[in-house]
């Protein structure tokens, strides 16, 4: 059955929720039980990165083969990526408030994520500024590629070059180094797969709806 991956995604998400709260975690100061946020906050960013990669790929595909389907996929994948990015920022802010003491800190990872989100918001604004479909698709495809190329250094390179509070950057060990013992990996990896699966399902639903919408408007 061609929707098998949707059922697997649902199973993985239920597993994440149940095992995420039941299984043992390392007892660490400051984090305490909030270490379980690892199963929710981090997969948001993994999911965002994967789905924005898909978006860029469809933008490249559009430039090579200007069909409306490619444009719809690029746009809807960007939409899902932006959703996940906003949720990642939101969950991160809550986590920061109760561990670092403030909703936001002047940190390269956080600032990079915020700037990355702004770049993708600008993509949406750019799209809405064109009336003609083909021009909109072409210009936003080019912008989308640049947006992704800017996002990668912002999120993954710059924060590692300087001081940062965020785990995995600025000389801090990532969670994998000492906090994430084998127990947590048993939940974390399935969680990442589950949340990425959900991102693809959301993309699937939105792109199908847009394609139907497009076909309806074609006929009239």
């Amino acid at each position: 059955m061609k929707n098998w991956w949707k059922y697997v995604t649902v199973l993985l998400l239920f597993y994440t929720v149940i095992a995420g709260f039941l299984t043992e975690t390392p007892r660490l100061a400051i984090l305490n039980e909030s270490i379980r946020n690892l199963y929710f906050h981090v997969p948001m960013w993994f999911g965002m990165t994967v789905i924005l990669t898909v978006s860029m790929v469809y933008s490249i595909k559009y430039l090579a083969n200007p069909t409306i389907q490619n444009d719809i996929m690029a746009k809807e994948a960007a939409n899902v990526g932006i959703l996940y990015g906003i949720l990642g920022l939101g969950t991160g802010m809550v986590w920061a408030k109760y561990t670092w003491g403030d909703w936001w800190v002047n940190d390269p990872k956080l600032n990079g994520a915020a700037i990355g989100m702004l770049i993708y918001f600008a993509y949406l604004v750019l799209r809405s500024s064109f009336a003609e479909q083909q021009q909109r698709a072409r210009i936003s495809a080019v912008y989308n590629i640049f947006a992704f190329v800017a996002l990668i250094p912002l999120l993954f390179i710059l924060p590692r070059l300087t001081d940062s509070l965020h785990p995995g950057n600025g000389g801090n060990p990532g969670f994998g180094a000492y906090d994430l013992d084998n127990n947590m990996r048993l939940v974390f990896y399935p969680a990442v797969l589950g949340w990425i699966g959900l991102a693809f399902w959301l993309l699937n639903l939105r792109s199908r709806a847009e394609k139907i919408n497009n076909r309806l408007h074609e006929q009239f």
Partner: protein, 77 residues
């Protein structure tokens, strides 16, 4: 007399080391976690609540999926 001093020093040194034993006890109880919460069984309430929300969202997504499939069939026909 010298032997006595030697043994006394070693014994005294050993006693100082024994004072470090309580440090081993810090591996589990010093960091506060939700142990009482779990002992009371309340963690299952948390799991149940989040599962209900997740189930609701998943059912909604499946229904939306079906609706789109129906529309796609209509368009094809």
């Amino acid at each position: 007399m010298n032997n006595f001093r030697k043994y006394a020093t070693v014994l005294l040194g050993f006693c100082w080391l024994l004072l470090g034993l309580p440090a081993l006890a810090q591996t589990t109880s010093d960091i506060p976690m939700a142990d009482q919460f779990r002992a009371d069984g309340k963690i299952y309430v948390v799991i149940a609540v989040v599962s209900v929300i997740l189930l609701g969202i998943v059912v909604f997504l499946f229904m939306l999926d079906k609706k789109l499939s129906r529309l796609e069939k209509q368009i094809k026909g």
